[in-house]
Structures are given as C-alpha cells and as structure tokens.
C-alpha cells in the first residue's frame, strides 16, 4: 500500500493509514497516523526522517522470499528481503535521506509461549519471530543502517501507531499502551 499525501498540516482529525500484514505505507501527510495491527512474530520496520517529515512502515511476515516466490511476486512486502528495499526506495522517493533516517523495530514475538503451544516444530512461530528479526537486522546492517530503538521479542502480540507529524511510535498490547518512543 502506498499513500501519496501532499496535504499541508492542519487541524483536521488524524487520518489512519492502516497497513495490513505484508503491506507497507509511506506518507508525508502530517495529519496522518500509520497503524499496523496483529504483530506477533511479524516485524514492523518503521522509518522516519525528521527533516523531510516523512514516515514509512512495513509489516513483514516472513524473512526470506525464497520460501514462496510466487507470493513474493504478488506481495513483496510480506518478506524482509523483498519488502525492505521496497520500503526504502519509496521513502527515498519521498525525500528521505538514509543518513538522517531513524529506524525502529517492533514485533518478532514468540507467540507460542503466550498460547502455551510447544516449540521446536516446523511451524514454530517463536523461531519465525527470531528469524524475522535476524533477517531484518542483517539487511539493515548490510545496507549501513543502525536501529535506533526497538520493542521486540516477548510473547505478546503488538499494535503500533506511527505519527507522521513527529515520527513518534505508540505500541500497545492487549488494548493497553505499553510504550512510546
């Protein structure tokens, strides 16, 4: 998902740009908030350029597009290796500068611990969360980007809201705000 917003800041109510699983959004509409829900083992990579006042967020489902190339073709943002380049390229088109860019990570939880499910199986979501985090961090490192802050791991699903106006993040879990940064 790509938002093309050019409206100047105003006193109008905050517009919510909802990013689904395997989607992304970039916006410079300072009246908007980018929101993504149901971050379990998934990772939200949030980028913010304080000078350009541009915010971007991607909801990464899996680490590697080789797992499902056909899906990667249809929905590249679902995978870290195809989604992150897409997010950054779009952000650069909006005027984001890599040197100014602040990157924050949210998610990568081990939701099997919360549900009491066993670990270690082929569908082990805990290891998916760790693999997602590893893939994202590795891609960022290889591209010369350090993570400013992160709220990752644990066993609870998260929702994250990113204010396009100031880049601030609000992270909630179970309906309650757990942290802001």
């Amino acid at each position: 998902m790509l938002e093309l917003c050019t409206a100047p800041p105003s006193a109008q109510p905050r517009r919510r740009i909802v990013v689904g699983i395997g989607e992304y959004a970039v916006s410079n509409d300072r009246a908007s908030v980018i929101v993504t829900h149901a971050l379990g083992s998934c990772i939200a990579v949030c980028v913010w350029d304080p000078a350009a006042k541009v915010a971007g967020l991607i909801h990464v489902l899996l680490p590697d597009s080789r797992i499902n190339p056909s899906r990667a073709g249809e929905q590249p943002a679902a995978f870290a290796d195809t989604g992150l380049p897409l997010l950054f390229r779009t952000a650069y088109e909006y005027g984001v500068d890599k040197k100014r860019c602040q990157v924050r990570l949210v998610g990568g939880a081990d939701i099997t611990r919360a549900s009491g499910a066993g670990a270690g199986g082929a569908g082990d979501a805990g290891s998916v969360g760790k693999r997602n985090l590893l893939a994202v961090r590795s891609l960022l490192w290889r591209n010369g980007v350090l993570v400013q802050k992160e709220a990752v791991g644990g066993c609870e699903p998260r929702t994250v809201s990113m204010d396009v106006c100031d880049g601030s993040l609000q992270i909630s879990s179970g309906g309650e705000t757990v942290c802001r940064f």
Partner: protein, 127 residues
C-alpha cells in the same frame, strides 16, 4: 588544544572480521570520531598507544602474544588515565569481569553483540 583534539579510537582484536565489524559500527554510529586504529593483539596495541593519542580503547580479552587483560594492566601501569577502556569479549563470566575490575574498565560488551551496542557505548564514552 585538547578541546578540539579528535577522539581517536583503537580497536584490538585478533579477528580481522571482528575489527572490521566494530569499525563499521563506529562509522555508522553518527558519533564524530577521529582516526580509527587497529591492532591484532595487546603488544601491537601498546605500540600504537605509544605513538598516538587514543581516546577510547575497544579490546578483546583472549588474544595471542598479549591478552587484553595484560594490555589493560600495561595501560594502567603507564598512567594513561585519559584512555577510556571498553572490553568486547565472548567471555562475560563474572570471574573475567572480576579480573579486570581494578583496571578502570568503563564498559563491557559481550559477543555476539548488535552493532547498535557499539553506537550506544560510543555515545556514552564521548559525553
């Protein structure tokens, strides 16, 4: 003038890959530093320290020729109190930490570490 002296860094590790990783993390950190020197062991590090003014020393512990612990003893013996010492080691045991407790070690980073850990250390030692 001291106030305008560049904050030079010395990275001491027998792994060239590890030195390269720390060096890259320093460069990406956004913290302004001067020259980044490298040494493969404590003895090489001492030779660099004799020749250059170093602000912060990132050293491994287990190295051939001269260990990081011995290097820190030599730094202390020479009275180089201006050097901020940071240990970057796989050995984070309490016994090892106790061994260097009296050697004015500012921070201890355990391997493996996220590159952001180096940035956070730099931000702390440069302020």
């Amino acid at each position: 003038m001291e106030a305008t002296s560049p904050f030079n860094i010395l990275i001491v590790d027998d792994s060239t890959m590890m030195r390269a990783m720390i060096k890259r993390a320093v460069k990406l950190s956004g913290v302004e530093v001067g020259t980044i020197h490298e040494a493969g062991n404590g003895q090489e590090a001492l030779e660099i320290l004799e020749q250059h003014r170093i602000g912060a020393l990132f050293t491994d512990i287990n190295m051939p020729v001269m260990t990081g612990t011995e290097l820190l003893r030599q730094v202390a013996a020479r009275g180089w109190t201006h050097i901020i010492s940071v240990i970057v080691s796989t050995d984070g045991s309490s016994a090892r930490r106790e061994e260097v407790r009296d050697l004015d070690v500012r921070l201890y980073v355990e391997k493996p570490f996220a590159p952001e850990a180096i940035r956070d250390v730099l931000a702390e030692v440069c302020h």
